[in-house]
Symmetry: C2
Subunit: 238 residues, 2 copies
Amino acid sequence: MTAIRAHGSYDAHDITLSEAITGRRSVRNFDPDTHITRDELVGMLDEASRAPSSVNMQPWRFLVVESDEARKKLLPLMRLNKRQTRDASDLIVVFGDLECYRKAERIYGQAAQRGIIPTLMAKAQLAAIVPAYRKFTRDKMTRVVHIDSSLMAMQLMLVAREHGYDTNPIGGFDEDRIAETFGIDPNRYVPVIIIAIGKARKPGHESYRLPANELIWWNDVNALESGTEEQQEKGRLS
Amino acid sequence: MTAIRAHGSYDAHDITLSEAITGRRSVRNFDPDTHITRDELVGMLDEASRAPSSVNMQPWRFLVVESDEARKKLLPLMRLNKRQTRDASDLIVVFGDLECYRKAERIYGQAAQRGIIPTLMAKAQLAAIVPAYRKFTRDKMTRVVHIDSSLMAMQLMLVAREHGYDTNPIGGFDEDRIAETFGIDPNRYVPVIIIAIGKARKPGHESYRLPANELIWWNDVNALESGTEEQQEKGRLS
């Protein structure tokens, strides 16, 4: 940590990408007394939202659970992770907007206004993209918003490190009820992942990763399977 | 860029997280003469694989398209992005393994062997996780592997920057035929995203992002919708 970058009313410390990636741990024990200002949280979400998305449609939407009342609503929907729900500074429920193309005109219009793309090109792209997106099946669009929202979520977890915070990505919650519980239209918004964020009271532990070279097919398929079976043998619990 | 980190036989330059995030662009025009060694590519995949995944199951699998023959197979499956398919150093087709729980014993066994978690805890976690994972519907598991693989893919795009490379995330390809075209079992592996990687011949262009504060519900749902409609008006193409 060398330089300090100013972001509105708060400071973020520059860390290397490598530090952010290798230093990130899933933290389950947060300091309940740490409060993150809305200004700082929005700053982190803005940086995370630099993530790419399919045709730049940015389908991520955020339900930020910070009040005691909202936590009480969320708690019974969590399969585990009850402690994080109480103690994390915020729980960011990331939803994917299945009607994200409703913002296409705004996105492409702003890009044109700012001179990023010529207006004619913006119009041509809109004319191609929006009808194609409208035709997606619910299943297809669900997959697209899962991918895009997860790209953003990964950046959010790294950006949190830059701000001195830790995170816990949570997938175990009642997907079928979370939208309606918070008055969100479940036909339009699908929940993807919850990111708990705050200051660690106890550090997260290291975790093991499979070597990538065992997970690769180089131009053909045979390499992976053979390596895999052999390696499974070696790693079996005794 | 200050320090240089040695990774096997190649060098990665330290960059700040902020540089990696704000400097990343989707590049569509790659230098066809740039070759990335398998050693360096595996190093990048290993760093990207530090991403978290649901119960650490690491469902990401990689089909690395590098040979001319493999590119020829891939080309007709690409909706657009034909040039990247020819010119990028590699195209990494990220698949999600719907039977990722087959590696659970290896993952938890290795974690126990390395003293990361006690052996008894590893056994208890395995006994809880594997049966639960086996019970997932195909739809549910598809969503899980999409999330986890996308978290990894985002880190891969950032890590590429550390190595002086650029990327292009590609979602427009023939999802129904890509596994079989390469002899991969389509019942077990679902394609998630393709990451083209190489050296940019022409830099990617900037792109517009919606301000995060317009995409947030603070504990309740009403804030987002109102802001959205108003903002859509402002951004409409004339």
